[in-house]
Amino acid sequence: MKRRSFIKTSTLATIPLALNGIPVMASSSIESNALDILANAAVSCGKILVIIQMNGGNDGLNTVFPLDKWTNLNNARSNILMNQSSVLPLANNTTTGIHPAMSDLKNLHDNGKLMIVQGVSYPNPSYSHFRATDIWFTASNSNQDLDSGWLGRSLDKIYPGYPIGYPNSDMPDPLAIQIGSTLPFSLQGPNINMGYSVPDPNSLLNVINQITDPAPNSDYGAELTFLRLMKDQSNVYRAAIQNAFNTTQAQSATYPSSNKLGDQLKIVAKLINGGLQTPIYIVNHPNTSDLHSAQVDVTDKTQGAHANNLSILSQAINAFQQDLELMGKSNLVTGMTFSEFGRRIKSNGSLGTDHGAGAPVIFFGAALNTGPSSITSQNPVSGMIGSSPNLPLNATTSDQVAMQFDFRQIYSSIMQDWLCMSESQTTDVLGGSFTKLALFKNTALDTVSFESDTFFSVYPNPITENTININFKDSLNGYVNVQLFTIQGTKFFNKAFRVNGNTLKFSPDHSMASGIYILELEYNTYKFHTKVIVS
């Protein structure tokens, strides 16, 4: 049984590990290990999701262009549509291009770090900002009302009981961080909002959006300052956040100036660099996407309000992604855009677009399922799931971009394939089963297994006293799974260990006869192997 499935099954009717029919360990210890693994699989998952909220309904058709439907597109919105030649083509994708303001994202795409999911919507979509936002935030049906957010419920599964008993040694950091102030409904858990608002740690009293007035020069101001300081300083997470934020970064990317989204992502990057275990970050695009008018510049339709929004988005993401690469954590972070709906196929008379339905969701990161090996029936091309949207020849105001995927399929994929939640947890949170999309790289389990020298070594080797001592090059704080195989490939040992530090020491239950064995160690979906000798 593949180990990944072993982790994800929530029932405990798991297969006991056996060597020629003899259990390697007593089943109770297997089960308790499994419980330990299950309970902490998500906790020690180590993956981070960054959500960029584009509030207002981003015009998907002017972001990701259906090059193969150009005539129809032009028929629908010639007053705002740029020349086809201005659209940036995407490598290995003849049907689709992106807005010229997003050249950085094109580069990311061509380097396998962008994934476009086409036509994301849900049945009976709402065209009201509030309602649609709530639907996306709560993962409800169009006719349902839920009082908690999908992220809130997910975090409640992963970290049950929050806030009671938190922070603790397993999870010393906030569960979710929003850079900004008002916490979004998506993070609302069953009892409490699971999020934490981080002001710019550079200046305690100012929030990125300048929402806090400076204290005036008066007794009122003095009392206010005192209260603000005490509030900030006594927050249980303050130390963790400050420490993470102040961790030196050997190299960091250059972020664009005057880009408020970049400013927010820069803070996120510093917190990730500092080792904060928070799995969810939420940042907000500073401008509205609700461009009912003047979406483009009349004289040059590659410019204008929408282009400006996309440029901000693209440059900020680019800097952020570079930063992650430089700090060596790009495999741990995936980002996604979010917008409550797309816009009408047909533009309006004010050089803008009105509320629509389906739109693309853009993912970015180094762990996406891109590259030739990833092409399946869902991905006609690398870097895109779904196909360029069908458009009627002469769209009317009642035509909408059709749904290809339900947004909850995206959530389902994220929860199971990125946040290490189980299928049953996912179904619970979403109130139903939604077919996953192949968003993320298949785990290294099926593919690559690395020689271990860079990650760990076994010493002494040959081992003595049936004890294996593993030394990790870097200090770890999480779970590793160790398997031992005979040279013929028979697995006789499979156990997960919590490692907090540089060493791991264990003995298989049965004495290993002299010979050569293979030790396989898995950490954060990466697999490493080395030979272990018993003399």
Partner: protein, 606 residues
């Protein structure tokens, strides 16, 4: 700076009493309290650092002449918040319709009818040991000796009942004034309960009730009379040991405190001596609480225990001699204290000022406010009402420099928020006494307690440090333990939770829609007006236009910039209030708005 060092040690030792796991003081508090920090960073340059407490950031020169400025909701809210706990919208409306003078008159027009006494709410889980029925008034029911469990239950119910009275207050100053007296001349319920005297153990509940009744039944009465009454209140007899004071072994506790804490104070003008304390103790000998185990305990004078010398006092008291005269020596003693009319009146007026206005009394305020107020006090023969009347009608009271400067005490924060947001602190079934008292208990004994203020409990006879402890005063409410709890309490009332007691579940959750519907319909539908109105009611000082805009965008508009999105959502709700989708759409945004506002540090000020 030796004064500072001594005060620092004093502050540390006081804090140590109610700090749980702190080694020496609260590190955050010591770092940020501006007075201890000498205000260098967090305050504009002030005058001399060698004053015992720092001067006002900006000097306040307004005096006691009557306020003639605008009378709008900002002023009304200021008056209500300072003289009560939180406010009710309806009370704001009532006072707005009056002139300032009549509004203050209304606030001071205390109904002296005593409220219904506390009852046996505990019978289901702790049967009354003298068989008093569930729901019956226990205040006239003496307990036989040994019934200490029931006595404890009754004392608990007394605290809870007091909390309930504060929650259910009218627009007058009655409850807040009751707690002024308690904070100033307190008895700790637990200390009295465990006082080692016969019958006290089983009957302390009734004398504690009587003690509180003394305050509540005439909160704006005569101060000198109050001191005389208090001096022989059974609870005080036990609390400060006058019950044990005999001629053969005088106990100076009460003698000292009655001068140091309750009348003369410790400011520079108060120069009573140790000799005075010794003599006072002798004067006070002979009083004993009797008939504790009957329906009417009282304190009587028993000459057997009385010290019969002539008591010679110091030059501070003009070398007064109180001749041996039995019971009447007490009256003579109190008269003697009150001849120091300037000392007494100024001390009390400072306490009143600190409780109702602001702790920071600089030299200007001392001369323009305290001194004349004290003169009013003396001129009115120690009646409290004229003093408060003058204070609450003054320019100084409504001066912007005094607005928003007061850190809400835990009672202000908890009871205030319960009332302002119309939470269900009154349970649906009023015959379910157990449930009702337990709801009050939850807020008094868990929530407010966690913030370090509980009805019925005081750290020591000086009361709650925030009201008197130089140099930080009300900043003492805010430490690393209590700060987050303040914000958590507020967060939770918006997320909602259930309190289930005796099979009755009470939902504690702010009804967001009902809250804003207290405002004009035209205000509710306009997001700019709605944000402004909520700020006007909930925060003491207005926020900048920029900040209001940000709050509106991020909460009411879901990060959009178009006002009509809120207006449409609200109109849609009004068109069909039973539609869950419409309702949730507005509720989510209202919750965001009100949570944002109440999570601001500004909400902790009034």
């Amino acid at each position: 700076m030796s004064n500072t060092i001594n005060r620092r040690n004093l502050f540390k030792s006081v804090l140590n009493k109610f700090k749980k796991n702190q080694d020496s003081g609260d590190p955050l508090f010591e770092k940020y309290s501006r007075k201890i920090f000498n205000g260098r960073r967090y305050q504009s340059n002030t005058k001399s650092k060698n004053s015992g407490f720092t001067d006002r950031v900006v000097p306040v020169s307004s005096g006691l002449s009557p306020y003639t400025g605008i009378w709008e909701k900002s002023q009304v809210l200021h008056l209500l918040r300072r003289t009560g706990y939180g406010f009710k919208k309806s009370d704001v409306d009532t006072l707005l319709a009056l002139s300032m003078t009549n509004a203050v008159n209304a606030v001071l027009n205390v109904n002296t009818t005593p409220p219904s006494p506390p009852v046996n709410s505990y019978n289901n889980y702790s049967p009354d040991e003298s068989s008093l029925p569930y729901g019956a008034d226990w205040t006239t029911n003496p307990l036989p000796s040994g019934t200490n469990t029931t006595n404890s239950r009754r004392i608990d119910s007394l605290s809870q009942w007091n909390f309930g009275l504060a929650c259910n207050q009218d627009l007058t100053i009655k409850e807040k004034m009751t707690w002024f007296w308690y904070h100033f001349i307190p008895v700790d319920f637990e200390t009295v309960r465990t006082a080692p005297f016969s019958y006290a153990g089983s009957n302390s509940c009734r004398i504690l009730y009587t003690y509180m009744k003394m305050f509540r039944d005439n909160p704006l009465g005569n101060f000198k009379t109050l001191i005389r009454t208090m001096a022989t209140q059974p609870a005080m007899m036990y609390y400060l040991n006058n019950q044990a004071n005999t001629k053969t072994s005088p106990d100076e506790n009460f003698a000292r405190e009655i001068m140091e804490l309750f009348t003369l104070g410790k400011d520079p003008l108060s120069q009573y001596t140790e000799v005075d304390v010794v003599q006072a103790a002798k004067v006070l000998t002979g009083w004993r609480v009797v008939n504790l185990n009957t329906a009417t305990p009282s304190t009587n004078f028993d000459n057997t225990y009385h010290e019969t010398s002539n008591k010679q006092f110091s030059s501070f008291f003009n070398n007064t001699i109180i001749n041996n005269a039995g019971a009447s020596e007490l009256d003579a003693f109190i008269n003697m204290i009150f001849t120091k009319s300037q000392v007494v009146s100024e001390y009390i007026c400072r306490r009143l000022y600190r409780y109702f206005v602001y702790y920071d009394i600089d030299a200007t305020i001392e001369s323009t406010i305290i001194t004349p107020l004290a003169q009013t006090f003396v001129a009115n023969n120690w009646e409290i009402a004229p003093v408060l009347d003058q204070l609450f009608k003054s320019q100084h009271f409504y001066d912007m420099a005094n607005r928003g400067v007061y850190i809400k005490s835990p009672f202000d924060l908890v009871i205030g928020s319960l009332r302002t947001f119309n939470l269900n602190y009154t349970v649906a079934d009023q015959t379910n006494f157990e449930a009702q008292y337990k709801v009050w208990n939850y807020y008094n004994n868990s929530i407010s307690s966690g913030l370090e203020q509980t009805m019925g409990r005081i750290p020591n006879v000086s009361g709650w440090v925030a009201f008197y402890q130089n140099p930080s005063f009300h900043e003492y409410w805010i430490n690393s333990n209590t700060t987050q709890k303040r914000f958590d309490f507020l967060n939770r009332i918006f997320n909602g939770y259930n309190l289930t007691y005796n099979l009755l579940t009470t939902r504690i959750e702010v009804d967001l829609i009902a809250f804003i519907q207290q405002f004009d319909p035209a205000i509710c539908e306009d997001p700019d007006l709605l944000v402004a109105e909520c700020i006007a009611y909930l925060l003491p000082i207005d926020l900048s236009a920029t900040q209001k805009e940000q709050i509106k965008i991020q909460s009411l508009l879901s990060n959009q910039t178009t006002n009509s999105y809120w207006t449409s959502a609200w109109s849609l709700y009004l068109s069909n209030t039973s539609n869950t989708t419409y309702k949730n759409s507005v509720k989510t945004r209202l919750k965001s708005l009100l949570v944002t506002l109440t999570q601001l540090a500004e909400y902790q000020l009034m």
